[in-house]
Symmetry: C2
Subunit: 223 residues, 2 copies
């Protein structure tokens, strides 16, 4: 069987999209728990992680069955092996959402440091990267995937800006250090969520074009 | 073909062990660059990352060929799909080694904060987790894999201890904040290296026993 039947591909796609939607919701709730100082919402994120974990196992199980049944070749096999790698990436995004929720619970116990400006923007870009990378993968849209990879620099710039801002606060008033460290760890989680989005986008390009853009310099030498 | 011929398994194992050895060396050099204040060594780690990236592509390529040629079923397929997930875990360990090397370069530019005690110990445990997890995978040693998973708590305890120690330094003398943040980011990298070791160990148990210990609660409900 050279090409997987459409329904198999559709099933795999919709399973990844379901997982992606759930992960995105976890991240959205975690950021709202922080910005709106809503610890109840944060607890929902922490409790909701089990659903995501279950999805990862489901994707693995489905893919194993699919390979045994369909014995995919060439491009279909690339597609399926990419899905094997995307599920853990999504699961890690959800883990970072839990980290953010945990820090939010701590921060909500003490007076706010200042109004959140950069962090919600950074979160929105990181979240859009994960969503668009997954869309690019299921729709085989290499152009969209490349846009996601480019957006990673934007998130890195937000991280640098936040880092410097928090450093200033800490130096001026050591009483702010514990809160600043919590915010710094949240920013680091968002930065890694963007990295996971980039990973997924790179997998998408690999599936669509058969070309690996993960390590361009390595690629040249290993070809 | 129900079982992969031994030489195929051997080739895949030795490729993963080679990659693992290279990753371990990167991590070892990064920690020595920090402890011995050797920025030249740190630069070697940063430059050496391309070799690891190349290995990940090589593993992917080899696995795709192997599936097409051998059409593995059941346990052999589980083994091969686990290897698909382990290569990116190793690649991320190497990325963290680069992060540590980068922070070391910054720290080596300024006077030392204090003698390193906890950080090298934490690094040694994290490194042993990655090494033992990979050994457990290639030797099909479930007992060793479970020991690795348990050791993650030790690394978390080191992280907590370091976090509190660095917090004290920062509060007492804000002049130490930039250095403390660099050390905190290094500790966070080591903590995530231990997480990657745990991921690999969990994959090993899955391959050996066909049982997924990644998300035990999820497993019950998805069975």
């Amino acid at each position: 069987v050279e090409h997987l039947i459409d329904s198999e591909i559709e099933t795999l796609n919709s399973l990844l999209l379901t997982m992606g939607g759930e992960v995105e919701k976890q991240l959205d709730m975690a950021v709202r728990a922080l910005v709106q100082r809503n610890s109840e919402l944060a607890e929902q994120v922490i409790a909701g992680d089990a659903v995501i974990d279950r999805r990862e196992l489901e994707v693995d199980h489905r893919i194993t069955e699919l390979i045994v049944r369909e014995k995919p070749l060439a491009r279909d096999l690339r597609l399926v092996l990419s899905a094997v790698k995307i599920a853990p990436d999504l699961e890690r995004v959800a883990d970072h959402a839990v980290n953010i929720a945990r820090q939010a619970v701590e921060l909500n116990r003490v007076p706010p440091l200042k109004k959140f400006v950069l962090l919600p923007r950074m979160a929105e870009v990181a979240r859009s990267m994960v969503r668009d990378a997954l869309t690019a993968f299921v729709r085989r849209d290499a152009e969209l995937a490349r846009q996601v990879v480019e957006r990673d620099e934007e998130v890195d710039a937000y991280y640098e800006q936040l880092f410097r801002e928090l450093l200033t606060y800490m130096m001026e008033d050591p009483g702010t250090i514990p809160r600043c460290l919590a915010l710094l760890l949240i920013a680091a989680s968002l930065e890694r969520i963007a990295d996971q989005g980039t990973n997924i986008a790179e997998q998408a390009v690999y599936v669509i074009e058969g070309r690996d853009i993960r390590h361009p310099h390595a690629q040249e030498q290993s070809a």
